[in-house]
Subunit: 239 residues, 2 copies
């Protein structure tokens, strides 16, 4: 029932936090851990802090980039402590758990660095941001306890579903993956250049807004194909 | 609003956990920490793990017995991982937070030793037990993350009472109107005709899918303007 959920830790500095996160996950019945360029891994300290959850460390997938970590995910939720310049759909942990089990999509929860969290670019790859409602004056949670809160809410939601299977959304087409989204946005950026829509002085802002818009819609694969078709048709006509 | 709540840690072995608990408390707006016969305190490791919450360590009350720690409390809730011989009123973390704020009583949450939790005698001093719903096969949470879960639920409950609402990310642009959506979709349909994307045999289905997609995203007016700009740019290029 939790196979569709992965916890992604980006550029973790302290191996103890990786171990603590693994323990928190296993306590709450989660098993899929993905590490994006951890500073130190594997590590004795991680095993020690995992305190019996070292099987999750053994099976952890280590990758170089966030893109790889989430390429096949249909729902990506990034943890964020701060307000961003461009507002993004924002959930609290409970809402994020509801969404995860409502749709049953291949889902990633992405946690950033201990000191700086996720970069703006990383956050923009997420469909939603989740904010653990800490007090403003002291808002930065320890990484493992942040994982604990999210994993706890996922567990509470799962238990509230009882024995009833996940209510699959009745959408008739599978949700698009992050990789498909990336390809479509690249295609879009090229076309916007060709039709001279993109302001060369500020291309990123426009593309960020397009990413936000299309991710927010949680596009399905047919819609994705339709947009790609439109882009190809524009290219043909404009040459 | 949280002055009536104290966190009581009984016989903690690892000072790092005391620091971690202090940090979790401060993140969630709690400030009263009571330590019953900690093995090592004060300690550099506790300060280090508190990571900015050392003021809670400085003001922590250290006592010899649980009785002293809770003597003036009206509601005592003890954390328990196991089923006990004598059933006790059992809450989940969410229910325990509801109870705490419902009554406004002087309340203690009591956390046991890292390895053995609370003794039966200690648990029997509690009005209620609270169980964090871990998986049975791996049920023992790290002490600081257990404090985090309870403190998080207290915070969620407090915020739901409206005392200091969660700072919602404020969308910076007004939502688009239905009329703006209709105009954009008309514009889109014209352009899709011009670039010969629309199948004349089944134009409606495509436009229906576009409407569904863009409505689902609940577009704002800036995004709407951006899309209109793209459509206009395509028209210019393709003539």
């Amino acid at each position: 029932m939790t196979e569709n959920i992965r916890i992604v830790l980006v550029n973790t500095s302290h191996p103890g936090n990786i171990g603590g996160a693994a323990r928190a996950m296993k306590n709450m019945g989660l098993s899929k851990l993905v590490l994006v360029s951890p500073k130190v891994f594997p590590s004795e300290e991680a095993v020690s802090r995992a305190s019996g959850a070292s099987d999750l460390l053994d099976s952890a997938v280590v990758v170089d980039t966030l893109e790889e970590a989430i390429s096949d995910c249909q729902l990506v939720i990034g943890t964020s402590a701060r307000e961003r310049h461009i507002p993004w759909p924002l959930l609290d942990p409970r809402e994020s758990a509801e969404l995860t089990y409502k749709e049953g999509l291949e889902t990633a929860f992405v946690f950033g660095r201990e000191d700086r969290g996720l970069t703006n670019e990383e956050l923009q790859r997420c469909h939603y941001h989740v904010h653990i409602p800490s007090v403003e004056a002291f808002s930065s949670l320890n990484l493992a306890t942040a994982v604990q809160v999210i994993a706890y809410e996922l567990r509470m939601k799962l238990l509230s579903l009882g024995d009833s299977p996940i209510v699959q959304s009745k959408w008739d087409v599978p949700a698009a993956t992050s990789e498909q989204m990336d390809h479509m946005l690249e295609h879009l950026e090229n076309v916007l250049g060709e039709i001279e829509f993109l302001d060369p002085k500020a291309p990123r802002q426009v593309m960020t807004r397009f990413r936000r818009l299309y991710q927010r819609a949680q596009m399905d694969q047919q819609e994705m194909g339709m947009l790609r078709g439109v882009l190809t048709a524009i290219e043909k006509q404009c040459r």
